[in-house]
Symmetry: C2
Subunit: 140 residues, 2 copies
DNA sequence: TACTTATTGAGAAAAACTTGCAATAAGGAT
DNA sequence: ATCCTTATTGCAAGTTTTTCTCAATAAGTA
């Protein structure tokens, strides 16, 4: 798998090491269409890496977050979930059913420019969760 | 205090009761210039309501959230914090120093309209935390 | 005052997350 | 191939955060 090699190299360049645990956790997140909690990652990873611990999952998710490979996000549950950090996007989250929809970054561009001008903040690389009611849940 | 009476009435109308605990928790949040964690609320409330428990703080914050009096928000720590639900606004949160800036809802209006048109979601009453770098932390 | 029941306190328990340290093993050097 | 350094893991214990149960309390109504 060339993707894994590429990742391994990028870690080694920075003095870190590639391990079966890290690879498995990345795989689980890549394979998942949606965000996973540490517990969910652990459940899936333990199938392929015998003996892996929750501790390692927590540590690895933090490690990967720090180095920009995954992204911790908040969907209102109070606990962070993680996803692979690929294209920039945001989420609409339904308050009622919890369903999520991804929206592209482009729509936010003008807002960002305005906010940056008004506040001096630098807002690149954001990942937002906007809460509301999905079309289905509005019919109630 | 007329504000408290008003609140009490609004609860009673819906079949709920006003209690010293609920009043104290509302007071703490009103008095605070910023968001408070359940633990912080508990710390302050225990001074004025002897015997109050953390359980009650958790329950009350959820109760007040459900009925639109307070708002749980996420600032990236992984744990929700709470604030009085007054005017609609959003936050810019500095990734580095944790500093926050409030921004008015008006700038978001056009984005919301676009998003609602594109997805069918209904996004009113939102409260966002946009992360980035504050002006001070950009000089590093 | 008495009655109904929403709400609380107490304690236990579950869930989420962290810490310290010895054992393991990844990657580079020999 | 083998050795070395040290990043990383597993293990076990501990801490923090949050939830649950249930009997006791007290808010609001009549
Ligand atoms: Zn996402
Ligand atoms: Zn929905
Ligand atoms: Zn706010
Ligand atoms: Zn800052």
């Amino acid at each position: 798998m060339s993707c894994a090699n590429h990742l391994a190299d990028s870690l080694r360049e920075r003095g870190f090491r590639m391990t079966p645990q890290r690879l498995a956790i990345m795989h689980v997140l890549y394979a998942s269409p949606k965000h996973l909690s540490p517990a969910q990652v652990f459940d899936q990873v333990r199938g392929t890496v015998p003996g892996v611990t929750e501790t390692t999952v927590y540590r690895t998710l933090e490690f990967l977050s720090e180095h920009g490979l995954v992204r911790p996000i908040h969907l209102g549950s109070g606990h962070p979930v993680y996803e692979i950090r690929e294209h920039d996007h945001h989420h609409l989250v339904c308050r009622d059913c919890g369903g999520t929809v991804e929206v592209e970054n482009s729509l936010f561009k003008t807002l960002y420019v305005q906010l940056e001008a008004a506040t001096g903040f630098q807002l690149a690389g954001n990942h937002l969760s906007l809460f509301g009611l999905c079309p289905d849940c509005q019919r109630e």
